[in-house]
Symmetry: C2
Subunit: 344 residues, 2 copies
């Protein structure tokens, strides 16, 4: 079903098609340079709920519902959804998806979750588990900061390397291939391997994740025998401004110059000068909302033809950090292509 | 690649083969009625480490290593491993798998994780992502109790409905099908849907999970047009003594009598009379260790020919419980068959 090219690197013989996607973000993300591209900018950080956790759940659910609405499907049409988030025990996905009653595969890849979800949902679609599958993820500034760092009311100082957890969600719906590639397809993937270079600072995640992104990208270039200029964009998740520089240096050392095509969702999401987000954005929702708000539309319109989407995750927990553990990074990747079949 | 039978229910056209498996448990599990069946009973609850979290990581790693050793493979032979656990941000899997450097797909299905992992790892193997894939999970009494309920030193009273989180781990290695079913294969699966009947008591998880197990089993019976007596055993994860009774009642109401073949890992793991475990065992490691210690050997020797393994998970977190949320249950299922090709 897939062409296995090297360890964890594959391409689809018949690629599944992305038939719908949607993005929801908070007000701060809506005020950023890409604010106009998201389907929904929600000014109420509580999304009408009593708690931040409920807010994130509602955001995720609304995003899936919107993706369904956009392609005229119902939740009962989906054979499964791959869902995950940053909260303890992934409750954004649990309570977000509960009312939709879709067979649920819970995943955890920290901020790499959107790429992991796309990878698995595309695999399940290509393998024939029903006609439609989906992937969704979310993050919320207030749930993540309270959980991983300090409660908001503590008012702690954020160092220059810190990233701003995005309030956002992205959802993608895939269709089983029918033999004719058409529209935007998931054409390949790379399952990430953990890389841990010993970073212990939970406020310096870009440095913790960049080596994993480099490992995944170089594995994919080698496995597929492609070079950076094959792609219109090589998109990473949320390395931010500091991690992005590190990534370009790390892949350059292995003979690949990605600097002309590299784009990082965390570095793009906020205005560096006016939005006080230090090293940029982070969180599962950062790359998910940028994928669904900016990159998938660019592929759909033909402005881009072929991109790599390599979301990046820092596999940490407050317990591990308190025990002095370092932060392993991981980066899963999917290749996305516009297969527009036009009449001759 | 799969025959899609109904929503989320499928069978493999060419089933991937289970070529190795291993189990590790703690001393209390080793003292139970199935103690002799596990590969390793570790008397040191700390597994030689400084913290409970490190102990669980080491247990999970050792179990994967043992499964690799038993079939003569190395970590570098695996194209991916599906791994998850109960700890916040799945750090048992993160730090457990870190030294092994295997492409990692993080999953979260609470105590249903072993079935979710087997479902995905078998799908990836059948789809051709390399020759070997794997699934692993773990739980540890001390990490789970501290996280979900009270620190051990608090010495809280446990109600009769409470279950005892198993210290244990199970790992399974699968091989891509070569067209000839042989040995023990994963022949089908059912992706679980969340079911929430409003249980809010974190000490009554059997009741929270039984409706999800019933939903999954009935969906599988209907989708495959089979009946309970098709199977030598219908194994649930960790419903425990109370949840097991509920499950039998719930499926009976839908016309299926599973009482003769139903076995619950949580009800089996400990001696009810002497081990003070109240309603039985729970935790990701409960069904994982019983699968790898008892059921897979029974299939391998031919004592059983065909079983359903439906692990069950309670998708909760302390944060959600404190906010008054109910506990949705989920149950993923895999069908396992002995395909022994004997000369005529």
């Amino acid at each position: 079903m897939v062409r296995n090219l090297s360890r964890g690197v594959f391409q689809y013989a018949q690629p599944p098609r992305i038939i719908s996607y949607a993005s929801t973000v908070g007000q701060k993300e809506g005020d950023g340079p890409f604010g106009a591209c998201f389907d929904c900018v929600e000014p109420d950080a509580h999304f009408g709920q009593d708690t931040w956790e409920q807010a994130e759940s509602v955001m995720q659910r609304r995003t899936v519902q919107l993706a369904l609405d956009k392609c005229g499907l119902q939740d009962s049409d989906l054979s499964c959804i791959c869902a995950g988030d940053l909260m303890n025990q992934c409750i954004g996905s649990t309570y977000g998806m509960r009312p939709l009653e879709i067979p649920l595969l819970g995943i955890y890849g920290a901020c790499s979750t959107m790429a992991e979800g796309l990878l698995l949902a595309s695999f399940l679609a290509a393998g024939g588990v029903g006609e439609y599958t989906a992937a969704v993820t979310s993050s919320h500034f207030s749930t993540a900061e309270r959980q991983f760092r300090f409660p908001l009311s503590y008012g702690g100082q954020r160092p220059p390397t810190a990233q701003w957890t995005c309030t956002g969600s992205g959802a993608v719906i895939l269709q089983q291939p029918d033999g004719i590639p058409d529209g935007v397809c998931v054409t390949g993937g790379c399952i990430g391997t953990m890389v841990d270079l010993g970073v212990t600072d939970a406020n310096h995640m870009g440095a913790a994740m960049a080596p994993a992104a480099a490992d995944t990208l170089v594995r994919y270039f080698k496995g597929t025998n492609t070079a950076p200029d094959t792609y219109d964009a090589i998109v990473t998740g949320d390395l931010g401004l500091i991690g992005s520089e590190l990534l370009c240096d790390l892949v350059m050392k292995q003979g690949y110059d990605i600097s002309a095509v590299h784009r990082d969702c965390g570095a793009m999401l906020y205005d560096r000068k006016t939005q006080d987000t230090h090293a940029g954005g982070s969180g599962c929702g950062c790359s998910a909302s940028m994928l669904c708000g900016h990159f998938l539309p660019a592929l759909q319109t033909g402005a881009m033809k072929q991109i790599l989407f390599a979301a990046t995750g820092a596999l940490m927990s407050p317990t591990a950090s308190q025990q002095g553990e370092s932060i392993p990074g991981i980066s899963h990747l999917v290749e996305l292509r516009q297969h527009c079949i036009k009449p001759a």
